[in-house]
């Protein structure tokens, strides 16, 4: 077990390096010369050159990447070009809203999608199954911001049940915190539910066609136990794996949802930084999100081996 986790961890290193290279390469090809910018309008070419050397900008790509990666490993992602604040502290401030949004979305999605998938598979071909499948196609076709606006219009503007926009930290009281998060999380859930339902249904169909399910039925095990214990347990692996893979879509969706609902999270930070061309922040957010995705999927793989003793790497 320990060696497996270690090996799996080592396998993520090249992937993380590729992400880091992409993120660093962005700044490398970005227009504008930081040395000229820092030196100001009045600087002579000699001064600009001196600043360039002092920043290490005259070094070759590999050396600069190494230096950047080392400081990133020490938790230093540079400073914002705009406010001068450290990128890490700016990201830290924005993590709680985004994380809350994603956590609530995950809870809603899994608790809706898994039962839907199970029921659809249990009654394959029925009107219920067809309704669930059509719902999944609709979920894929409804962009998250469109769903967000529809929800906000109906439940916030017309009915007034929830606030239209904004975010309340948990310190403002749990009720306020959840009330602000419900609509954005529902909007973000649409596509995720469709994804998990679709995979859940096909995994359940696969499991239900196995011999041990037939045996269980023949023994007279009641329907519910066959579905939820015999079949769902075995269908759990693809479902968990799609939940992990779906995190990338979830992060993409969160960027948009935060704009629709005015939530001060990582998504707003990256969009605002892009409009100001504040590259270090864009780099930081891309790096943090991608590493989160990689670590989530690492965890998924570990959970896999815990759930299924047949899997040995």
């Amino acid at each position: 077990m320990g060696t497996f986790i270690l090996r799996r961890l080592l396998l993520t290193l090249p992937v993380m390096t590729v992400v880091a290279l992409f993120v660093f390469g962005l700044l490398y090809i970005a227009p504008g010369d930081p040395a000229t910018m820092i030196a100001g309008d009045q600087a002579t070419p000699v001064e600009v050159e001196r600043i360039r050397v002092s920043l290490g900008l005259d070094q070759p790509f590999v050396v600069r990447f190494g230096a950047w990666a080392l400081s990133a490993l020490r938790g230093d992602l540079g400073n914002s070009l705009f406010s001068g604040q450290s990128v890490v502290s700016m990201i830290e401030q924005r993590v709680p809203p985004t994380l809350s949004l994603m956590a609530l979305t995950l809870v809603i999605s899994v608790s809706v999608a898994v039962p839907l998938g199970v029921v659809a598979a249990a009654r394959q071909g029925s009107w219920l199954d067809r309704a669930v499948s059509s719902f999944a196609v609709l979920g894929f076709s409804l962009p998250v911001f469109v769903l967000g606006y529809v929800l906000a219009y109906v439940f916030a503007l017309e009915l007034g049940w929830f606030p239209v926009q904004g975010y309340a930290p948990p310190s403002a009281g749990f009720g306020q915190y959840i009330r602000h998060l419900i609509l954005p999380a529902l909007a973000l859930s649409g596509g995720y539910i469709a994804l998990i339902t679709r995979i859940g249904r096909s995994a359940m169909l696969e499991a239900l066609s196995q011999d041990y399910v037939r045996t269980a039925k023949a023994k007279g095990v009641d329907r519910r136990s066959v579905l939820f214990i015999h079949a769902l347990k075995n269908a759990a692996l693809p479902i968990i794996s799609i939940i992990g893979i779906g995190v990338a879509t979830l992060i993409s969706g969160a960027v948009v949802t935060e704009t629709v609902f005015g939530i001060p999270g990582l998504g707003r930070l990256v969009v605002d930084s892009l409009l100001r061309r504040d590259y270090p922040i864009i780099q930081g957010v891309v790096l943090v999100s991608s590493f989160t995705y990689i670590i989530v999927n690492l965890a998924v793989d570990v959970v896999y081996t815990l759930l299924d003793p047949r899997i040995r790497y």
Partner: protein, 307 residues
């Protein structure tokens, strides 16, 4: 009934004696081949027709009772839908209906172009990865890396350094999408290369490029076409997202995302500016997704049953 079938002589006497049995072979349909095709592939036909309708609207936009989508009319700002402005006007007095119809051009061009570019490079990379053993681990780690960056963030990051044209938007989205094709193609190549007909082709002295183009790619075509369709749908959404965030298609070009971005500040008082392009966006994406599902059902009936 059964006597119309050629093999009637083989049918046991018992069955022949039962005149009410349903026909073993369905009577040939009198409907034309088109109707039969539509009946067998309803999803494909509905998606295709919807998409064709939107495509026609995009092509014939100038003749669809539209006015110049850029024409400013400060005197008629933010008017609700009326007889002259079917979808109302935006905060600069531009006709939202005309902008939405012209916006179909942007979405369809981006969707088709991303599908084409991502598929081309995906197939190229996937084939190399599947065929050149020593390159495979390197390419796959790069693909894994790209796939672990959320697609909207890849596009945002690239558009941060190279802003501002439809071509850049297409490249940025295609970079986020092509790894999916590359993985798919690699998988197909890896499974096909062990088949005996490939060994036979090698034994006959076929060159690698001939084996690729004549024996492997034709067999990989179906899943690639299906995947390309889904990528088109996803690209249309991503373009709208980027434009909505203000970092995609330049604001001078009407696109559904741009119209929504302009309506964003006003949406609580004038929701129609956001809703009309939303409806068109949803219908278009739905049409492309239905087309993809229909193609999957038609080309790969086994996968259709599973999913």
């Amino acid at each position: 009934m059964t006597s119309t079938v050629d093999t009637a002589g083989d049918v046991p006497l018992v069955l022949q004696a039962a005149p009410d049995l349903p026909p073993i072979v369905a009577a040939p349909s009198r409907a034309g081949p088109l109707t039969t095709f539509a009946r067998r592939n309803p999803t494909l036909v509905v998606g295709g027709l919807l998409l064709m309708l939107i495509g026609l609207a995009a092509i014939f936009a100038p003749w669809l009772w539209t006015v110049d989508p850029h024409a400013l009319a400060p005197a008629r700002r933010i008017r609700p839908p009326s007889e002259t402005n079917w979808f109302g006007t935006d905060d600069l007095g531009r006709d939202v209906y005309s902008r939405v119809i012209y916006g179909a051009r942007t979405s369809l061009v981006v969707g088709a172009a991303v599908a084409a570019v991502a598929t081309f490079f995906g197939v190229l990379v996937g084939v190399v990865s599947g065929f050149v053993r020593w390159l495979d681990p390197i390419i796959m780690r790069i693909i894994d890396g790209l796939m672990s960056i959320p697609s909207v963030l890849i596009a945002i990051a690239l558009l941060g350094v190279a802003r501002g044209s439809i071509a850049n938007v297409i490249i940025a989205i295609a970079l986020a999408e092509f790894p999916r094709v590359a993985r798919l193609v690699r998988g197909v190549v890896l499974s096909l290369r062990e088949r005996s007909y490939i060994s036979a082709a090698i034994a006959c002295g076929s060159s690698a490029s001939r084996i690729m183009s004549r024996h492997i790619l034709p067999n990989a075509m179906d899943p690639i076409i299906i995947q390309a369709t889904y990528i088109g749908a996803s690209a249309i959404i991503t373009e709208a997202i980027l434009s909505f965030l203000g970092v995609g298609t330049p604001p001078t070009i009407p696109s559904w995302g741009n119209i929504m971005a302009e309506g964003r500040a006003l949406w609580q008082v004038k929701p129609y500016i956001v809703f009309f392009p939303s409806i068109f966006l949803c219908i278009t994406v739905l049409a492309v997704n239905l087309l993809g599902d229909g193609l999957r059902d038609m080309l790969d009936p086994r996968a259709a049953k599973r999913i």
